[in-house]
Symmetry: C2
Subunit: 229 residues, 2 copies
DNA sequence: TCAAAAGTGTTCTAGATACACCCATGT
DNA sequence: ACATGGGTGTATCTAGAACACTTTTGA
């Protein structure tokens, strides 16, 4: 029956773990740290931490992302709560996983050094502690699903980017080649990119025009439901 | 820095709350209880409970669903972890919400009585305690998204169902009318329904053929990605 | 015989796919 | 001059949307 007092119930440690995605121009990558405390100290791990008394999970995730990257206002989203009894070898800990997207050039190298953090291509990750491999796999699937209908790919790129860069990003996320003409036609037809009068000249002699994402234009079309790719 | 001992950290009550969907032939409904304990005793609420030491969240949700419906092996899925500091007025409690789909004819009336449970059309719910309204809203959105690409609508129907029943179900979930000819053509073209040599004669003189979902056929086509509607 | 729901095809439109050549520029 | 990556258009195919009449049968 339903007569219950809160007092009688078990309390549990609640953690947050973050899958941090970046894009280096050709590969989708994840930022992984060497775990700094026991158990499993020194092994590869997602960045995480326990939820504090005065913060919710979103705030905890933002704090943890800030600790590792020095960045605020990172795009992030709750992924899934991992609750298996023995998922952590030291105690019953449930972990709410978040995935985050950052521009790989923006993070603090200083902080990354302190945490012994490294970027790995998403398909070449070393084995991670606990159930963190499962978290990464789930995050990758969610990213693939989400990026098809929401304008979040831009979070992985600099403010200014070229269409070839954007195409490479989608190709890395979907792990499939895309047709250049079809891609540019579709993405431009959405009417949410503004072309700049400026070219990126690093990667080709001819140079490729820069574009920026126009969130105002995107906001106006929202209601129709947006299919990106 | 990352030197941390688990001991130092705050432990939290972790609950599970279940959004239980049913379908009465014309409306998508949710099963709601009168909360049987303080705080907010006597108010409308989702069915929930605390996670026990020896179970994960899926097991807790299955247990809670069994307590209210008497059913086992219910289709259910984790929805989201709700973690706001003051979401529960009595204590810091995080709640992992699950949504579940059942055949509305199968639940135990006896157990429902004991919990003072009632079915409400999803758009005519009374106000619920805490953040349960938010949970229901999120569950409804997830159901709409999920049912478009996964064969889960059948969970809300009896084993044998007619095409008009199935169409009504999709119309209730999407809250939009569908064209009968387009609907039947599309759903039958998936090749995952088996037509029975038997008619449902309650709702029309002519009678409508029964169909059953063929999960083996569905399993074989999985890889291609399935768009239901 | 009629009321009420089941069943059934065709046309049109829009979006997705497939596909190849010229352009600009630094070396 | 040439090598490298950037930029562009058309034809075909497929899936989705729109749309109305006939069939069955119990009362």
């Amino acid at each position: 029956m339903n007569i219950t007092s809160y007092k009688a119930h078990q309390r549990t440690l609640v953690a947050v773990d973050c899958i941090i995605f970046g894009f280096d121009g050709s590969d989708l990558q994840a930022l992984i740290i060497k775990r700094g405390f026991e158990p499993e100290k020194g092994k590869w791990s997602l960045m995480g931490g326990f939820i504090r008394e005065k913060e919710n999970a979103d705030e905890a995730a933002a704090r943890i992302l800030y600790q590792l990257t020095g960045l605020e206002n990172i795009y992030m989203e709750q992924l899934y709560a991992f609750t298996d009894i023995n998922r952590d070898s030291a105690a019953r800990v449930i972990s709410i996983a978040y995935f985050a997207l950052i521009n790989i050039r923006d993070y603090s190298e200083q902080l990354a050094l302190e945490h012994e953090a490294h970027w790995f291509p998403i398909n070449e990750l070393p084995p991670l502690v606990f159930d963190h491999d499962k978290m990464v796999a789930k995050a990758k699937r969610l990213l693939q699903r989400k990026v098809a209908t929401h304008p979040i790919g831009f979070e992985l790129l600099p403010e200014k980017f070229t269409l070839p860069q954007l195409q490479s990003l989608y190709e890395a996320i979907y792990e499939t080649p895309l047709d250049k003409r079809n891609f540019t036609r579709k993405i431009l037809s959405l009417g949410i990119l503004n072309k700049l009068n400026e070219k990126e000249k690093e990667s080709s002699r001819r140079g490729a025009y820069y574009y920026v994402f126009d969130s105002v234009k995107y906001g106006k079309m929202q209601s129709n439901g947006v299919k990106f790719i």
